[in-house]
């Protein structure tokens, strides 16, 4: 039988050291990695458990922000009074994810680094450039109903499935990363790379890097919400989601931050839409043109073209509600 190493180091230096061994992988809650191991998608030689590194704290930052340890469980983060009060959009996103049991296991670091749920990535008998570089993509001709309309490439149209990360991108969160060489900081919105011709390289992190924590900048006076659309009422990944934070200033939108989920290979910051809206007087027409600007580069396929009107309707609705504008009354027929 193939032996599998397992270590539960007590300090970060030891963890980094162990992770440098060939075939070693970090494991947090294991809610995704263990599945992938059962499926044969991941075949690590050793697992380095990051659960005992002291990374399970939520700490105050100077100026009113929070530092969230990478090993903090999703359920605890969602229930934290400071998170609920200062970053309600994050708490909303968290409780919309997975199930109660999974949230009790899943960690912040693991949630950020979870893999796509593209069916072909998870099936070793199918072609997948992300799993086996150069093998092809079964999804493009096959089932891609829930795959990307933004940011994809001919090689890969996988989506990042997280809810939590979408809220973090809207909040301008920053990850603190440790490597044997030292520490570094990366915006969550820059953490995931777009696939291009190398979809197997999913993040900007160097091999063996460890996410230690996520910093949430000091909260601003704003209205925010997280809205998730899915195929059933609970326990399903999004088909589209939006995290929106709006600062209104005397009938004008002083600032707006919009992040989209389940439509791109990474949590998608809708900068083009934000640029249209910022400084303007809120209206349905403004929001329609903003999301149209964001979707101008969308590349929908036969099976996921519905995400274009879905995103438009969803974003316009959410922004109208946050800005106190009457939303458009739509019919389906």
């Amino acid at each position: 039988m193939t032996p599998l190493g397992y270590a539960r180091p007590r300090d970060v230096a030891d963890a980094l050291d162990r992770a440098a061994a060939p075939g070693a992988m970090f494991i947090g809650g294991g809610t995704n990695l263990v599945d992938l191991m059962k499926l044969g998608v991941e075949t690590p030689a050793a697992l380095v458990d990051v659960g005992r590194l002291g990374l399970d704290r939520i700490e105050e930052l100077a100026g009113g922000g929070l530092r969230i340890g990478a090993a903090v469980r999703n359920s605890r983060l969602a229930a934290d009074a400071r998170v609920r009060q200062r970053y309600p959009v994050l708490a909303e996103a968290l409780v919309n994810g997975a199930s109660g049991q999974l949230r009790n296991m899943a960690t912040v670091g693991g949630n950020l680094l979870q893999r796509t749920r593209c069916a072909y990535f998870q099936d070793t008998s199918a072609d997948c450039n992300k799993r086996v570089p150069g093998s092809g993509c079964s999804a493009r001709a096959g089932d891609h109903r829930n795959l990307a309309i933004l940011g994809g490439s001919p090689a890969c149209i996988a989506t990042h499935p997280s809810d939590m990360a979408v809220a973090m991108v809207a909040l301008d969160a920053v990850v603190n990363v440790r490597t044997p060489a030292g520490t570094s900081r990366t915006d969550v919105r820059e953490l995931h790379r777009l696939p291009g011709s190398t979809p197997h390289i999913e993040t900007v992190l160097a091999a063996g890097s460890l996410i230690e924590s996520v910093d949430l900048p000091a909260p601003v006076e704003a209205r925010s919400t997280y809205r998730k659309v899915r195929d059933r009422a609970s326990f399903a990944f999004a088909v589209a989601s939006v995290a929106a934070i709006v600062q209104l200033d005397d009938r004008r939108v002083r600032d707006v931050r919009i992040a989209l989920g389940a439509v791109a290979p990474r949590p998608w910051r809708a900068s083009a839409a934000e640029d249209v809206i910022r400084g303007e007087s809120p209206s349905t027409a403004l929001f329609e043109s903003a999301i149209a600007a964001e979707l101008a580069d969308a590349e929908p396929l036969r099976g996921n073209a519905y995400k274009v009107p879905l995103l438009r309707n969803l974003v316009v609705r959410v922004l109208c509600e946050l800005c106190g504008v009457d939303p458009p009354v739509r019919s389906l027929a």
Binding site: L310, L314, S331, L332
Partner: protein
């Protein structure tokens, strides 16, 4: 009228509810883990078999390389077409394992590794390397397929096509015509407990600890597949974690376990994985259904045509009886039903809760709703207008047809007329609407045997090879036996679920309750007569009576027997996102005598919930290139969660009594799913004006693109 919702207050000490209904007698064992399911039996020297499955959908196996696999520590043997005993020809190609190098579908068992540990077997299974000569696979059902054919009959023995009157002439003359095509996707039974078998050989006799819906069919199927005498096969299946039809026939894991156990000469366990349940254990065929209804302007049906296209595999025939319910539902002078089948490079479809009626009534009851709209008649009234006096297909009288009462009672409880008449309601982005559909399922019984024994200390033993696949039949039958013997249930021991007991019907076709109570009732009555005739003394070994209902079942009068129901549904549809949610379902059913209201309630609610899943979520997503179901796990193949099912209300009409035996019971396992999906689709139409004819009602099918 009995509201089954009242039957929930529990008297914990007596394990009955407030009305004295016996609660689940094996509930404590199940929730504490004491109940032993098939794979949980354990033998000291047992080995583990893990199937290796094909990664192509059609072609030939050119080479099976086991060099890396067989050297894994603990591997005992590897069975494949290169190394397998010769099995007899048979009509179930799914059980004829390892006899050919031909691949019939992707996911077919092509080898099995047997090892002393599950881990070793899994690892070695991954190291079996198979080289294929792949051929183009044909996995897509379509109405213009050149290989479509009319099967000899549809399941189990119904005419493939029927015609009454001149359908085309009636359609040509009709004031109003509905002509629409509906589709349902492949749907997969996913009982919580996967199929599993432990096979134990002892001097040429085989015992299977199996997860099946009945043992008699299982022992015959396994014996035929192995070429041994059915009397040399015993099947024990004390606890079964759900079946929904998929455990009605034996599955290949039983053959793998039996072959492996014989070869390695020790007990072998084989458990189907969740992913394998999407290929090895049957599924509901996708269907394409054209329904044409002709009617007078005032809504009287003059013609009903229901033409069905569906699939089977190349290694066994399974012909779903999709249009059969249409033969019995509504009066009309013209009627046609047809079924066409095509054998594709796919796993063989099999039974799934209300096979035939469930997909067929989605189409018929959707079309009836379309006709109601076209005629501007209330959909409840339209159904009542077309209520037949006699079975429209056969002219025989109905046994206990109370569809109209179900519709009227449900309409009253649901405030149907008022809510329907109000039209769709808007609440922000959400539109709400209401819909209705009829339910129907045959009421039948099959010959069963039972034995009843009286003991001198006042105890009673009742034995029958009945199944409890999670439905609560162990509880309902115990209650019924106690009633027959006029003693309290704690004086009666009931033994079921073992082929060594008197042979009985499987838990299938909603026939269990009627078949088993018939035999139990007869055994108990004859035992009482024996005791009445005796001097009152009972020997230590007891006095036993064994009976069969063969003569009674054969002597049943020619009557059309069905359970009926009416389902009322409220939906909310989000006009921004296309999301559909179902806040409320209400079902009223007529199903003979309800043996145990608590068990019946959960069966009917379960059926309606599964119908809700069918309406909104369940879908085998086919990859035509790769030739398989892509979403082969429960993260991707969605079924309803609790959050999707906020409120389901169930009522049964009082006074029901069928002539199927003394109890007058009819099964309730299947009628609840029938019509539910149509009721949801009809409500979506009421809310939005959109008619969804292709299930499931996904949000992208409602969003304008």
């Amino acid at each position: 009228m009995t509201s089954l919702d009242s039957a929930l207050e529990v008297d914990a000490e007596r394990l009955t509810d407030a009305d004295g209904t016996l609660l689940r007698v094996d509930g404590p064992d199940k929730v504490t883990g004491r109940a032993v399911y098939a794979a949980e039996h354990h033998f000291a020297d047992q080995a583990y078999a893990v199937p290796v499955t094909s990664t192509i959908a059609k072609g030939m196996i050119m080479a099976i390389d086991v060099a890396d696999a067989e050297v894994v520590a603990g591997v005992l043997t590897i069975i494949s077409a290169d190394h397998a005993p010769v099995l007899p020809e048979g009509d179930d190609g799914e059980l004829r394992l390892f006899q050919s190098h031909e691949v019939a579908y992707r996911g077919q068992i092509v080898a099995a590794v047997v090892a002393t540990s599950l881990e070793a077997a899994v690892e070695a299974a991954g190291l079996v390397r198979i080289r294929y000569d792949e051929a183009p696979a044909d996995v897509l059902l379509r109405t213009d397929h050149p290989r479509l054919y009319a099967p000899e009959h549809v399941n189990p023995d119904f005419a493939t096509d029927t015609t009454v009157g001149d359908v085309e002439a009636q359609l040509a003359q009709a004031d109003v015509v509905v002509d629409a095509t509906y589709t349902t996707p492949g749907e997969h039974n996913n009982p919580m407990e996967p199929h599993a078998t432990i096979a134990v050989w002892d001097a040429g006799r085989l015992t299977l600890y199996d997860s099946v819906q009945g043992s008699q069919r299982a022992r015959r199927a396994v014996a035929a597949a192995l070429g041994i005498d059915p009397d040399d096969v015993r099947v024990v299946y004390q606890f079964v974690g759900g079946g929904f039809g998929s455990k009605g026939s034996s599955r290949p894991q039983a053959i793998v376990a039996a072959l492996a156990a014989r070869e390695v000469d020790r007990p072998v366990v084989c458990v189907v994985s969740r992913a394998q349940m999407f290929t090895m254990t049957g599924y509901r065929t996708p269907t394409i259904q054209r329904v044409q209804l002709g009617a007078t302007a005032d809504g009287r049906l003059t013609a009903t045509a229901h033409d069905v296209w569906e699939q089977t595999s190349t290694i066994a025939e399974f012909a779903e009886q999709t249009a059969v319910a249409t033969r019995h539902m509504y009066a009309a002078p013209g009627r046609r039903t047809t079924h066409r089948l095509v054998a594709l490079d796919v796993p063989t479809p099999a039974w799934m809760r209300a096979p035939g009626e469930c997909p067929g009534m989605f189409a018929l009851e959707s079309a009836m709703d379309e006709l109601a709209t076209a005629c501007a008649i209330d959909p409840v009234e339209l159904r009542i207008i077309n209520e037949p006096d006699l079975d429209p297909e056969t002219g025989t009288p109905f046994g206990d047809r109370r569809l109209v009462q179900c519709l009227r009672d449900g309409a009253r409880r649901f405030s149907w007329a008022e809510r329907r008449g109000r039209g769709p309601q808007r609440d922000g982005a959400w539109l709400s609407g209401v819909g209705v559909a009829s339910s129907v399922y045959p009421a039948r019984a099959q010959t069963s045997a039972a034995r009843a024994t009286a003991y001198p200390d006042g105890r009673w033993l009742v034995e029958i090879d009945a199944a409890d696949i999670g439905t609560g039949s162990r509880t309902a039958l115990l209650g019924y036996a106690a009633e027959c013997l006029a003693v309290s249930a704690d004086r009666v021991e009931l033994r079921i679920a073992d082929s060594a007991l008197p042979a009985a019907m499987i838990a299938g076709g909603s026939m269990g309750a009627a078949s088993w109570t018939w035999a139990i009732g007869k055994a108990c009555a004859e035992l009482q007569q024996r005791l009445d005739r005796s001097d009152g003394s009972i020997p230590a070994l007891g006095i036993a009576v064994e009976v069969s209902t063969k003569d009674e079942v054969a002597a049943l009068p020619d009557v059309s027997r069905f359970s009926f129901g009416a389902q009322f549904v409220e939906v909310r549809v989000n006009t921004d996102t296309g999301e559909t949610r179902v806040p409320h379902m209400l079902g009223v059913f007529s199903a003979g005598r309800i043996l145990n209201p608590v068990m019946a309630r959960s069966q009917l609610i379960g059926g309606m919930t599964m119908g809700l899943s069918m309406a909104l979520m369940e879908e085998a997503i086919l990859d035509v290139e790769l030739g398989y179901v892509v979403n082969h796990d429960l993260a991707q193949y969605h079924i309803a969660t609790h959050a999707d099912v906020p409120s389901i209300e169930v009522h049964v009409l009082d006074g029901g009594r069928s002539d199927l035996g003394r109890a007058g019971a009819q099964g309730v396992g299947e009628v609840g799913i029938v019509g539910a999906a149509a009721a949801v689709a009809n409500a979506v139409h009421h809310a939005t004006g959109i008619r969804v004819r292709d299930l499931p009602i996904r949000l992208d099918r409602l969003l304008p693109c």
